[in-house]
């Protein structure tokens, strides 16, 4: 829109239309903290950029290496932070990352009932459903029902282990390596590892031949 007209009408402010209450509150808080010199606006921007720049590709690299190299998998299970650093990945700042292995007999699925704790440094921002009340409340009480809705049906002889991430630890699931992937290299393996498999609501699948 050009601005060569007279200003006889007010212009709408940018970008806050329909803003959720919580977002407005955070923005107001940020403005106060900036005004009081507690935080620097540029630091906040950089931090947000860093958070949203992360993707599940980093977690997938860890899983693919673990599938390809049993010794690495042992190190990943022992100390996921060190294992991530070994692959030049950034495991994030304060929270400890713990990797959990899905096998033929155990299936882990991760939830945060209290909020939305998630291994953001390795998986990027969580999906919206992960933060939703239905996912958070139903996964702990009816994990098999929730998994069914995600398309995962597990036999009764598989132990379903829900992991409720309530505090400082962030959990990352190592999905089972799919059958028929023996000849694949690490990059091809990583392509089979989706975000949802590392939350535990999906199983890794080999690509079907076209």
């Amino acid at each position: 829109m050009s601005h060569d007209h007279d200003h006889d009408h007010p212009h709408e402010p940018i970008g806050t239309d329909g803003e959720p209450k919580a977002a407005a509150r955070v923005r107001a808080l940020e403005e106060l903290l900036v005004e009081k010199g507690v935080v620097d606006r540029e630091d906040v921007r950089r931090r947000i950029d860093r958070l949203v720049s992360r993707t599940p590709a980093d977690g997938a690299k860890l899983v693919a290496r673990a599938w390809a190299d049993p010794a690495f998998k042992a190190r990943l299970l022992d100390d996921a932070r060190e294992a991530a650093l070994e692959l030049d990945l950034d495991p994030g700042e304060a929270p400890v990352v713990v990797a959990l292995e899905n096998t033929e007999s155990v299936h882990h699925v991760v939830v945060c009932t209290l909020c939305s704790c998630y291994p953001r440094a390795l998986l990027g921002p969580p999906p919206d459903w992960y933060k939703s009340l239905p996912y958070r409340s139903r996964t702990v009480a009816d994990p098999r029902g929730v998994l069914e809705e995600f398309g995962v049906t597990l036999d009764d002889d598989v132990e379903v282990r829900v992991v409720d991430s309530t505090a400082d630890i962030r959990y990352l699931v190592i999905p089972s390596r799919p059958e028929g992937t023996d000849g694949l290299g690490e990059e091809e393996l990583a392509a089979l590892v989706t975000r949802d498999t590392m939350i535990g609501v999906a199983q890794a699948r080999a690509h079907e031949p076209v």
Binding site: V96, T113, V140, A141, D156, V160, R161, V163, D168, I169
Partner: protein, 93 residues
């Protein structure tokens, strides 16, 4: 009091006014220590501007799903693992 892996523990049934990280559905329930994590700043005081000291040990505690939900529909072997701070745990027989 500290706890060992495999030890039976009960989550305190107390209410806590204000921020805390112990979900209501495990309060008063008995499980087993699955993992012993490190110590972390106490979120109950850190949430209100304090430094969260003394730090509290964090445990991953495992419960049989049937212990948490009497009408649980899944398999009897299914479990739920949840991180609980040491000051919320009691020794269980």
């Amino acid at each position: 009091m500290s706890f060992e892996p495999g030890q039976r523990v009960r989550v305190a049934a107390r209410t806590h006014p204000g921020h805390h990280r112990t979900p209501g559905y495990v309060k008063g329930r008995t499980g087993r220590v699955e993992r012993v994590h490190a110590q972390f700043a106490n979120p109950e005081t850190r949430a209100y501007g304090a430094d969260g000291q003394p730090a509290q040990r964090l445990y991953l505690v495992g419960f049989d799903q049937g212990e948490l939900w009497p009408r649980y529909q899944g398999a009897a072997r299914d479990r739920l693992l949840v991180d609980v701070f040491e000051h919320w745990l009691e020794e269980a027989e």
